[in-house]
Symmetry: C2
Subunit: 452 residues, 2 copies
Amino acid sequence: MLTYCVRTALSRRAFTCKTSLAQQHSRGRCSASSSETDPVGTLLQLCVDRYYVSPGESNRERLQRGVSCRYGPLGMELRRNLLEQWWHSVTNSRTQVFGINTLSSSNGERDGLGQLRIVESEYLKQILEQPELRKEQLIQKVQMYLQRSPVVRNNLLHGALEQFVPSLEMVNRKLPFGLAETALCFQPSGGSGCTAEVTQTSLVWFCSPRTSSQWLDHWTRQRLKWWRKFALSPSDFSSSDVPEEELEEATSRGVRISYSFPWGQEPLETLWSRGDTELLLMHKGARSKLQCRDGRKSVPHVVSITGNMDRGLLAFLSSSLQHQKREDSKQRLKHRKVLKLHPVLAPVKVALDIGRGATMELRQVCEGLLQEFMEAKISAWPGYLETMSTSLEQLNTKYDEMGVLFTVVISENTLESGLLQVRSRDTTIKETMHISEIKNFLSKYISAAGNI
Amino acid sequence: MLTYCVRTALSRRAFTCKTSLAQQHSRGRCSASSSETDPVGTLLQLCVDRYYVSPGESNRERLQRGVSCRYGPLGMELRRNLLEQWWHSVTNSRTQVFGINTLSSSNGERDGLGQLRIVESEYLKQILEQPELRKEQLIQKVQMYLQRSPVVRNNLLHGALEQFVPSLEMVNRKLPFGLAETALCFQPSGGSGCTAEVTQTSLVWFCSPRTSSQWLDHWTRQRLKWWRKFALSPSDFSSSDVPEEELEEATSRGVRISYSFPWGQEPLETLWSRGDTELLLMHKGARSKLQCRDGRKSVPHVVSITGNMDRGLLAFLSSSLQHQKREDSKQRLKHRKVLKLHPVLAPVKVALDIGRGATMELRQVCEGLLQEFMEAKISAWPGYLETMSTSLEQLNTKYDEMGVLFTVVISENTLESGLLQVRSRDTTIKETMHISEIKNFLSKYISAAGNI
């Protein structure tokens, strides 16, 4: 019976998905929206209202730019789920992917334009305040201090290249293998002082020179499949070769995976075939230290796969927001906004609320159920804690906009018969279920959705 | 039968744990070690040899200081498990704990001694290279640029205090509630240029003024219980009040949870009762914005719980390393080092190796099993990929030092009968098990250990 529920619910989901796509295509991009005038503003406002991101103009602006912003509880959980899915997908797809953790700042010799460094402002002020120094001496002292200050990373590639040698013994000098990391990186702003932080994902793949092109194709397919897996309209995620004139130094081929935002395409993840130049440079040309056993003795080529998960998060939010119009029982036109995030990504899987009945007793039932959900790692929203009298309709609107998968209502009836009401975000259908079944129902629903 | 296995294995674990403690007490601290001369060196070297941290003197020094270092795959996974357990424990213990994600740098007005700022070195150099500037103008320009540069956080408290107001609506102005975050923070070095990064955990708890002292006690108990849950010798983790002369500004009471390292006690987590001063300061004294409904209308008091998970990781490594002596069958004295990390924390749960038989076919069985483990999120070590001929004894030594819970050996026998050999790290006992049972056995073992 449970399996049946999951299947029908999922096929319903697939169905909604298709109709929505069809609607989009027939009416043109975003015109199905009830907020046709400003789809971007609607999305950003919803993110603020529904605890995805914190309020504030600069924070909204960061969100839209695809860099880290102050995330509220739901945004934080969505980011967490995204990173976990990325990790799971990359480390489980091949047995030879190992996780690492490098440092975000290092006292390296690397030097480049627009480099960010961490300075101790008090120490720098002390230098400036030495009255005995001549101008030239002052400049020299500040420059020397700058040179000594740690450089903040703007990508995870260098950390992985550094870790290549210590990893060789572990893999017994056998190719291919990969080093994976997710962490914050920093982007210079060009003097404005508004440094941006980005949640990056990085897989650096070391393979034999003759297979690097195939591996680039392999990872492109894998990554595109991953992005599309969680999308309501998969075709909004696409891949394209990087034009020759945009190739980075030391790279021979590049592929970008992008999402079509309402304001245009933006890259989410970039794959580069990088050859061996940077690896040799990092290890000062010590070929013998770098050679692997792959038939011949060769220095491996590097394929890098770098994602921006802050922009990825916004892409999934944008992709999930549906605007629906329908007539209610009194033939009034109702607008409904639903954040149809994939069940695996949805930050809240279930909201717990109470209906009519003895409040104290109903709350106790909720607490018990919440504990059960928590132990099963099903993230739940304690809606029953709110004392404001909100109508069930208002609650549903709120939960739909939060992207909550299911709403459970505990009422007097539950105390008598053990039956509760479960409403699905995607079908809006309410079903009655026994309280002993709900945890398993949710677990199975989520894991089934993850395996499709 | 499986339950029986788990129980006996666990009670064996408990037993080993007790004997080891007894040994330690009877022989004095660390003297049970086979490397009595340098227990610290032995621990750090093992961490490097067994892929917990990367080689390098500065990296070892970072590890010992209890700050972030370059972690290898096992260290990375251990840190991940630790953070997940912390998260699970803090967010599930009370329904009113919400996760947030703040920014690691911000253009605030906060100013203090030893503050770290991110500067764009190229931009600063451009200022220095303006020949027309007099010395005073130059100093002024650099100071103005510094003032505008983003400050890097050294704790997560301020981010949470900032997020207090946006969170109020969510909790319907009801106390108590908490904001949780785990992230990197930066510590100044006093001009040496060696900025340290620390993986911090932070729970900022907002409660009514009259309950803040009780909450401090509540969280102290909870946190100490948590640290001890994963320790081989729980008594090495202890809590103590912060002496009055060491109280931080704005705090009225503090408690430290510490671990007794071979080189002395070091704090892992600190709890402070902070009153409302900082919250008022952060929100410019706007009392009406901060008031909550807790019977009276009062500005909440703050209890902060801040942990250093890099040092926590080292504490668990140190606490888990056991040195054992035993005679082998030929009455030779054998030294054995085992990293008895708690099953939930152990970065590798199972290693897969092949014994005698047709290598190709055995490998295929391993690949299948590995896939099964990965899908069940049981982290496995692909030992069968190594082509070097290592004796089973050498393998066991290696896996014991890595802290691998179980070693599974697939041999010709497995191809014929489906039976494989499972060796336990903690008991060193080898059992025969059917290949179809191993995944469930491991899952149950790990989750049973997590629930104790």
